[in-house]
Subunit: 395 residues, 2 copies
């Protein structure tokens, strides 16, 4: 059957295809991007659900407004206020995870052929989503301190792009965070070019070390958009995220959302709000941070022990991912083939680029157990050595 | 802020704007399209939720597959099998309500400028959704027996439209159902023109009188698409619906859904499935039918008593809506202005047309109590008599 032109070039997520390969129980997988299930406050969410059914009854199952559940929007606005951002509940639209927040922004704002600056490497879900709207990606390199601001300035100058999609905290896939000077510089550059920063922040709460840094938005005097998610802070299976947008944009976002699915589930919004209102969320987040820091420290140490020194790896201060770069001449997909034979998996970096770069890969450290992290990195180290040896012999 | 071109002409739902006017407690509203909250099996859904948390724990809060929860897809496929349709779970994609099912179909299949046949009047949510994809609507009149098949044939011949969006059971807004000969004829005509019928069926389970009729799809030998929803069968606030699509299309739909929101909430899918598996759903549906039949009978009787005979009203055999046609020279929006002064509300028909027709209106009978139905229709009858009198005096 003939499909719409916009579907050309939108492939099934490479990662989801890899996850099928790695479903075998003997495979140690660093491929997925799943939070650790033990980090979900399942009992407390269950209590919140019981509470909602007892108190709200049928109202929890009825249609509700497109904008989202008012107390939940209020909770989000208050949390922004603590970060010094003057958000009002009316500036918040609840979405079906932050993936739908991307979709609403693309739908309401982006024309086909629209130039959009993205990070290189960039978040795969954003590449997939904005591709559907025919966006013309303009990648700008990520350095260890964040996006290359010189390149950003030049690309905005050349292309006149109205949008820059950025993940300044513990980016997926790289784990890189923008340092404070980079945040300030991005705000200044974007403002000067009249470029709207679409600032996505699914991992911001998961900082293990160093100090929290203010969002790019807090330095901006021109309009920008923030996207948020409860997927890593509470749990992803409720699919709850949001857009925080300036005044002039909310009406279009609401119309886009209404045409798309009327509204996000009343039930999950009320359950989540009840959970947030009745529990110490910051204590919960602190426990996730502690768990993931242990995982991260183990993975970083195992990499130092087992990886050949020709392979570079990032040293993330938070989030769920670590990013590796292979020396010239090695392909991550070749390493993947070998790794999967040894029952260890990761995601080759190619889908995170719009230009086919193939010498990087992503490791997830949130989902595997500490034992599996040590064993899996050791296996992967052996594969890398073999591949390197083979490449050097061939050269 | 400049929005995308596709947002031109997509307005906020007229109905949602009307609902704001009718929020005052003294207003008797037949405007919304809400199921009656007493029809929701809230206690049993609460039990199902408790069950899910106890048995599935963290898995109910984790990411899950784009296609949807396998047991839920299996339940839907088995229900189709009882209707004689050979559905497999793999033919079903779970969506965030059937509104998102529309969106996925539009996204995966429709190019800008794509001609699409719709019913006249047509479902507002479909008009909004497909408008975003730049569809060129080709309306075909609804008769009391269903779509005008002669007109359908001619329009398909003239336009070569690849799609016909139809709501053959108790359509929103008209309450009209296709009779058996019309269903057969639509299948034959669509098949002959190579046109895909997008058959939406949110109200099919709500038949109060007459016999259930098979879907148009059951007469078709060429590909077609069925959309379904749990909103009226169980409750809308979980936002669960589906697309049942032929083999060649599912892959595109899954890619579209993945880019849009990854997947529909794991939690609501599991709760709904648990509810469906543990309860006698048909007995529940029978109780909704009984309730709505009482409402419908009361409204039909009150209309006969209070409306001037110049106003025609449909006599629906199911669903939630009744459709009124005013005599020449009366505008539904004028009647609405007067009605709202008397604290009674309905939806003027204009947004259900793509050509601005203004002499019809929709009455919802599912949501108001029996007492309010009698009182509201009496008030509305008085308004109609006044408007008619005024129009006749002016003529």
């Amino acid at each position: 059957m003939r499909t719409a032109d916009r579907m050309q070039g939108v492939h099934r997520s490479y990662i989801r295809e890899i996850l099928k390969v790695t479903a075998r129980p003997e495979v140690i997988s660093f491929a997925g991007g799943l939070p650790h299930p033990d980090s979900f406050p399942a009992d407390k969410v269950a209590q919140a659900a019981a509470h909602v059914f007892a108190e709200d009854g049928a109202a929890a199952l009825q249609y509700s407004t497109t904008e989202g559940y008012e107390p939940l929007r209020n909770w989000i606005a208050e949390r922004y206020a603590k970060q010094g951002l003057a958000a009002r509940p009316d500036d918040i639209l609840i979405t079906t995870g932050s993936q739908q927040a991307l979709d609403m922004v693309g739908r309401a704002l982006c024309n086909r052929g629209e130039p959009m600056v993205i990070e290189r490497p960039g978040y795969l879900g954003a590449i997939q989503c904005f591709s559907m709207y025919g966006v013309d990606f303009k990648p700008v390199d990520l350095l260890e301190t964040g996006v290359d601001t010189g390149q950003l300035d030049a690309v905005l100058q050349q292309t006149g792009a109205r949008f820059f999609y950025a993940v300044p905290n513990f980016q997926n896939p790289s784990g890189i965070s923008y340092d404070a000077p980079t945040r300030k510089a991005v705000a200044e550059i974007a403002g000067r070019h009249g470029c709207i920063v679409i600032e996505d922040n699914p991992y911001g709460e998961l900082r293990f070390m160093g100090e929290d840094l203010p969002p790019v938005r807090s330095y901006m005097t021109t309009p920008s958009i923030l996207l948020g998610s409860f997927s890593k802070m509470v749990a992803p299976g409720m699919r709850l995220g949001w857009v925080y947008a300036p005044d002039g944009l909310m009406d279009s976002l609401v119309r886009a959302k209404q045409a798309c699915d009327l509204h996000t589930a009343t039930l999950t919004q009320r359950i989540l709000y009840r959970y947030l209102a009745d529990n110490d969320v910051d204590a919960h987040i602190a426990s996730i941070r502690e768990r993931y820091k242990t995982h991260r420290d183990l993975m970083v140490a195992a990499i130092r022990e087992h990886f050949p020194q020709e392979v570079r790896a990032t040293d993330p201060q938070g989030g769920m991912f670590l990013w590796c770069t292979l020396p010239q001449g090695l392909s991550a997909e070749q390493v993947f083939e070998r790794a999967i034979q040894r029952n260890v998996a990761f995601v080759p970096g190619r889908p995170f680029y719009v230009d086919g770069t193939d010498n990087t890969f992503r490791l997830n450290f949130s989902n595997a157990s500490p034992e599996k992290i040590e064993e899996g990195i050791a296996r992967l180290g052996a594969c890398l050595r073999e591949c390197l040896h083979q490449a050097q012999s061939a050269a």
